[in-house]
Every structure is written in C-alpha cells, then in structure tokens.
Subunit: 259 residues, 4 copies
C-alpha cells in the first residue's frame, strides 16, 4: 500500500520535474587534499592535490548532494593514485554514487634532473591537471602537463653581431589520458624540442653549456609549436605555448590542435 | 626577368614549406591599452583594455609578424569602440593585414546603480571579454560577461529556525556577440535571477531591504543556473556560476550550455 | 712571489669595493620543494613547500652564490621539519654558508575537523608562512597563519526582521615563531572568535547548527579584530582580517598590531 | 530632560568603551573606480583605479561607517587627480570625515616610448600605487612604481663563447610621495640602469640594437640594485627587484632600503 502511494508521489514529482534543464556540471571547486602519486615508474610522490569534483544534474532532479562529494573525497584521502587507479576511482564513483561523474585534479609533479656538466641533481616541478568526464571534447579523459623551458629568438640571433634575446617559456600539452602514459617521457620529449630545458641547480660550467647550447638552437614560438606537434602527431592533443618575452612587457603565445 | 626569378624562388619556398603544420593562433598576450567604449546606450566610458591579438599561421609560412600586431594596436589606441565598431576593426584588419585574425579584449565595465531604498548611486564593475575569431566553437563571435551577485541557500533556510547562510557569487555568461546587444540588459536579466544583486553603496535601510529580500528569494546554484538558462534559452550560450561558500573554504560551481 | 701579487690585487679589489652598498636580501624566490612537517603534535604531514631563501650582501662583496642556495635546499629535501628544527637549520646554514641568512617557507597545513553534530571528519587547510631573518621588524622570527572563517553582520541582523548577511572571511595572524608554538591551538583560539568556524564536510544537521550558531554570534570586522587581539595580547603580533562581503563586490579589511 | 538622560547614557557608553583596543586600519578594499590622472607633465590620462580606503578606529568607538567610504569615493569619481591634488583630497577627508584617514590607490600608468632605431612609438605600462596614511613606516606618504626591464647575466656572458642568458625583470621603488615628483623621470632613471629597457613595438633594426646593447651592459641583480640605489641615494626609499630567470623555473630577487 505505502509503496504504491510512494510510487505515485514519485511519479508526480517526475512529471512536475521532467522539463527541468539538464546541467552539465555541478560540484565543488578548489578543495585541497593530499594523495600519493604513483607515476608508473616505481617511485611514489606525496602530493598536494587541488580537486574539483561533481556531477551532471538530470532533468528530473533539483540538484546534487554536495556533502556526498566530500564523502567521496574522504574515501580517497592519502590513497595511492596512478593514472591506472584514477580510472578505477572514476568508474567506482560513477557506478555507486553518480551516473555522470566528473573529476579534475591539479598538482605539482617533481622530477630530479641532473645538471648537464657538473652532474648535480635538483628538483624541477611540472604542473599536471587530470580531467575525467565521460563527455568532454575528446569524448575521453585528458592530461594537461605544463613544462617550463627556454626559448632563444632566431631573428634576434641572425640580425645581431652577438647575443640573442631569450626567455623562460611554458609549453602545455593536453593529451589523452591513458593507463600507460609515462609522464617522464612526455617531459623529456617536449624539453628536447626547446632551445634548451631548465634546471633548478646550475653551476658555472652548466651555465656555460646552457648559454651556448641555447644559442645553437634558436626557436620561434611557431617552430617550437610545430616541433612538438610533429613529435606527438600520432596522438590527439592540443598545445599551448607562452613566452615571457625578455624584450617586451607582454607575452607571446600560440595554440594548435590535432584532432 | 627579375619578377620571374622571384616567382620561381617563391614557388620553391612554397614547395619546401608546403607540408608545415597549420597553427591555429599565434600572437601577443596581456598587452594593456586604453580605449573608449560605446555601450550603445549613448554614454562613453574610457576603459583600460587587456588585449590578445594574433593570427593563424598557414602551412606555407614560417610565422607571423609580431611587430605588425603592435602596428594594428597603435591604430586603434584611444579609439571609440562599440560592439558594432569592433566587427569593423576585425574585418578591416582581416582584409588588410591578415586572413585569419583573432582578437580578445578584456575590460572592466561600469554601471551606476541606485541603491534600493535610500536611492544613493554607486558604481558596480562587471568584467567583460570579447572573443573575435572566425572559427571558434560557435563559428562566431562571443561576449563573456561576469556578474557578481548574492545567493542564499534554500536548504540552510528551510532547516534552520532563523537565518540562512549566503555569499557572494559570480555568474558568467558566454553569448553570441551581436551589434545590438545591450550589456545593461544582460546585467539586468541575470541580476534579477539572483537571490539579490549587489551594490557598492548601501545605507542601513538598503541593507535591511537586501537582507530580507535575499531571505525571501533563496537559490541553490542549480536553481540559479536553470533560471538564467530559461531567461536566455532562445540564444546560444554557455554559463558558469561560482559561489564563494560562506560555510566552506572551497567553492561550489556549475556549468551548462545551450548549443 | 705570485701569491704576493695576488694578495696586492685582492687588497686593491677590496679597497675598490669597500664602499659598495649593503643589500638587505638577495636570493631565490618561488622554489617548490616538498618536506615533512612535524607540528609538535606527534603527527607528521608530507607537505609541498614554497621556498624563498637568500642572504644579505656585505659592502665588500659583489654578490651571492645563487647555486649555493640550491645546494642548501637539496640538503633539506624531504627532511622532517618542525618549528624547533627550522631554527637549527637556520643556525646551521647561517654559520656554515652565510652570515646573514634568510628563509621564507609557505605551505598548506591540514587539520582534521569533526563536524559539530553529525561528527563526520573532513580536512581543513590553513596557509602558513615562516619568516626567518635575524633583523626583521620584530628582531626575531615570525609565523603567519591564515584561517578561513564565517562572519555574520550585527547591523544586518539588528535592522532586519529576519536573516543577516554573512560571508567567508580570512583572519591572518603574524606572531613570534617559538619552538613550542602549537599551531592547532592558534587555529582553535582564532576560530573560536569568529561568528562560526568553517568545515569542509557538513551534513544538513550540521548546516542547521552552523546557520543558527552564526546568527547568535554576529561580529563586525572591528569586533573580531578586538576579540582576537584580546586573546593574544600577551604576545607581540600583527593581525589582518578580510571579509569577502556578500552584499558588495569589494572586500572589507582591518589591520592592527601589538608591539 | 531627554537630552540630559541621553548625555548620561552617552557618557556611560564612553566609560564602558574607553578601554577598547585601538585598530590601525579598517576600510574597504579592491574597489574599482576610474579617475583622471594629471602626471604634472601637462597631459591627462583617464585611468582605472583600484582603491583601498578607510580609517583607524579609536578606543572609544565600536567601528567605522563603511558607507561613508563610498560617499567619499563618489565625491572623487572621474575627478582629476595629480600628486598635488591627492594630498588635498587626503587632508579634506581627514578633516571632514575622519581624523586618521588612509588611502591606497593602484593604477596602470602609460608612457609613449619611441623605439631606439626605427623611431616607432608604442605604449609601455607601469604599475603605480600611492599610499597615504599619517603614520606609515616613513611617517609620510609613499609612491610605489614598478618598471619592467631586461637584465643580462654577466656570469653567463663571461664564461660562454657566445650569447648570454637574459630575461624580463621587474624593478619596484617605494619613494616619498612629493608634489613635484616627475614619474617620467623616475622611470627614465631606473630604465637607464637596466641592461636595457623594454619597448612594446620593436622592428628588426630595434631588436638588433636591443640585443647588442643588452650584451654590452650585463648586470647581476646585485649590480642593478646598487646602481639604482646610487641614483636615488639622496632620497629615502626601498627597492625590490625580481628576475624571471630564463635558466630556472624560479625567480631571483633582491631587497634593499635607504632610511
């Protein structure tokens, strides 16, 4: 009896609500929570994550349960997360708590780099963001990786008797997130295209190498964009580059895509 | 003779370059330059613009002429720009200097608002960004407008004996940029959907009105998203809302689109 | 012979340089490096630190050894650091590598908070900065701690028939850094002064408690400033508060000091 | 009768309140309002100002009138403000509405610069902040001016066969605000100390000049700090420099003061 009544009531609610607007995303944003990142290389990093998670809202619902997202986040507090495991989490939460879950996770990833001549190690930091949502622009999951590099201007080099202006630049690639993606390799391939890559700890002999190597390897932002494009052309991706120009107070940037 | 030789050389260059990658955008970013904004209401505002402009790079070209973009920007320094005139600029530069020009212009737009009871005026500021590029996501030009508002939580109201938590929120709409768009009206329609709109200058009697009006008009972020959606549903747009939650140290946000 | 010549040359250099300007600080800024934070409570947190370190430059020197700072930072990579140990590091580096060292370390510190009624735990994050330099404004070392809280407006409450506007606020205290400082206690004493403190995870019954408690505990920014001042008046400190006003698009702030 | 009672009540309130804490600053922050800037050179600039204004709170008062600050700001909306006039405003408001007023005004200031060889003009933007408060650190009023420049590393130059790493840097001077301060001259004297100053619009022949001039004029951050110090040593000031290092992903900075 009761359940029948309930059923009717429920139907009425549905009828009333059936013409509500579908909302693509509702959730929480800029929530800090640490986790342990397994980068598939056998080493673990304790990491400060910045999380956005949420859900779409169907036409028959008024809204999401905001507190449920904290419940979900609590479940993965201080857990080990690899690119493989993040899919499992996504699927698990999508089945159990949601049917159109999304998750965006940003963090600073570290690689120990050895300086080119003196062979001193230091940490380099790379910003990573993972985007997990069923129906994003690629109909799939994405990884964004931002890599700081050096670019030296070919025009400045060719027209000047000596020297060339050069600057710090940022190369960001958005690429399909796959289980077996090796972040170290992504970093390596992109750094290779720059005039030269950056290090945190450089002795004088390293700085000499840096300065001369960069001069022998000048790159316009267009050259660098195409070099990275060619390196990744068998993948779907988009690419953003930005130079902190040392001759101007404004930046120079490029955008290109392969999909 | 000379021209023939030139022609051959040119062809060779083309043949060499023909298989270069097409780059969607290359240009300059974060360049500050003032202009005069005509908002189609008969009043002019002197405005600090933040400009990104550039061009795509065709497969047969190595790159853009960066200095040309400054030449273009110099031409429109301190010029009067309305939504109508910005199209003309776009077309003019596209024909004369470029064949796939893009322009992005961000600025702070002011409206004098009269407080609800004491009738004191004050300035409210709204951030606007114009996006002009032939082949963007809508195949057309866009305006982004961000409006600060107040939202009061219906759940908090309904479960508490008195009071309800409320906060500052930001509603951003991305809409097709048209000649005859009235920004004041956009602001008006969106502010109307909020629990209540904001003012810079409120006397006590205004604050009383504000507090009570907001309480009588509670809105979840989902409600507000749908209310704005319904108001604009005959247009193509997307919508981003964000609440600076007064009960949490993280934000709540929504995203929805109609196209 | 040679060494004598060298000695003369060296003296000449010194004589030439003796009237150089003393520079208070030269160093590196915004270097990310993880460490393990011991908060004196027996629990350890793996933490992402943002480091500024450097040295003054004496009148007889041309400059600092930038690479030495990375050498120092490498030495404390992934080390356990407590408020006690950071002094030891400071002294060690001051004696061994420098005679006027400074160190500034910012990080996000987490506390597990239990929601007031449903007793669910969640993480709250608090930004901390440590300032170590011999001759700072207090002639001593400082800790800055920023705590997000809720403030409810007494004026809005008293003039309105129901409800009161309230918002997220940030209270920052700068206090003498001492070995035995308990950060948890600092957080506790400041949160106690707010209209109510924040939680990340609130169920409906918590939200009801939050809403009603805040209403019974209204605070102007001036009230809150004085309440915190009185709680800490036996210490030297300064205090900055900022309210993200829910009725305006601008903020309200206060500053006060006790030294 | 009534007024006597009121008088007694008022006195009681005073007695009750007399031991409240003195608060150095309470006010509004990040309020956008345009004004017209007269830089003492005969030319006017319409400018977007970001305003912080407020007052101290005496021991016998509960707080400030927040709405009064908007009343004050409304009075100077779109007014012409020079360094001379801002003192008048300060005094006027201090006498009429307040007895310990403070005002902080930030804006982007533009100078037309002619490129060194091709003689093309373009705008350069410099961030300025004015600080007006009776009892600040200098017991006087301050102007902060930030100037983007280029610095080329002397070490990189001297150890390398060719080229030297160089980058965009920011030099900020805090100096006593005086009626007759010429901002253009401040900019000129600081830009002169850099490896070379920046322009927004550079043709190839300018870029050649820039590249070679910078190489002939290498500066460590310590050199530049001292050069600027020596230029301004008859004034009280403090100085902050920051290099966006092109060889690292972190910055290098210096601080020095003369007072």
């Amino acid at each position: 009896m009761y359940s029948d009544l309930f059923f009717i009531k429920y139907n009425i609610l549905n009828i009333i609500n059936i013409n509500k607007i579908f909302i693509n995303k509702v959730g929480i944003k800029n929530y800090y929570q640490p986790f342990i990142f397994d980068d598939n290389s056998g080493k673990l990093q304790r990491i400060l994550g910045l999380w956005n998670i949420g859900n779409s809202v169907q036409t028959y619902k008024r809204g999401v349960h905001m507190s449920r997202f904290l419940y979900i986040l609590n479940k993965i507090l201080n857990k080990i997360i690899s690119l493989k495991i993040i899919f499992k989490f996504y699927k698990f939460f999508n089945i159990n708590y949601s049917n159109d879950f999304f998750l965006q996770l940003s963090f600073m990833y570290f690689i120990k780099k050895i300086s080119p001549i003196s062979l001193n190690f230091s940490l380099m930091n790379y910003k990573i963001t993972l985007f997990l949502k069923k129906n994003n622009i690629f109909k799939n999951f994405l990884l964004k990786l931002t890599i700081p590099i050096n670019t030296l201007c070919p025009c400045s080099k060719s027209i000047s008797l000596y020297n060339a202006h050069n600057q710090r630049s940022y190369a960001s690639i958005f690429i399909l997130l796959k289980n077996n993606l090796k972040i170290c390799e992504l970093v390596y391939y992109i750094e290779k295209q720059a005039s030269i890559s950056l290090w945190s700890f450089l002795k004088r002999i390293d700085e000499k190498y840096f300065t001369e190597y960069s001069y022998n390897n000048p790159k316009f932002i267009e050259d660098l964009t195409r070099n990275i494009y060619n390196k990744f052309k068998k993948f779907k991706f988009f690419l953003k580059l930005e130079n902190l120009e040392s001759i101007h107070n404004h930046n120079v940037y490029s955008f290109c895509k392969n999909f």
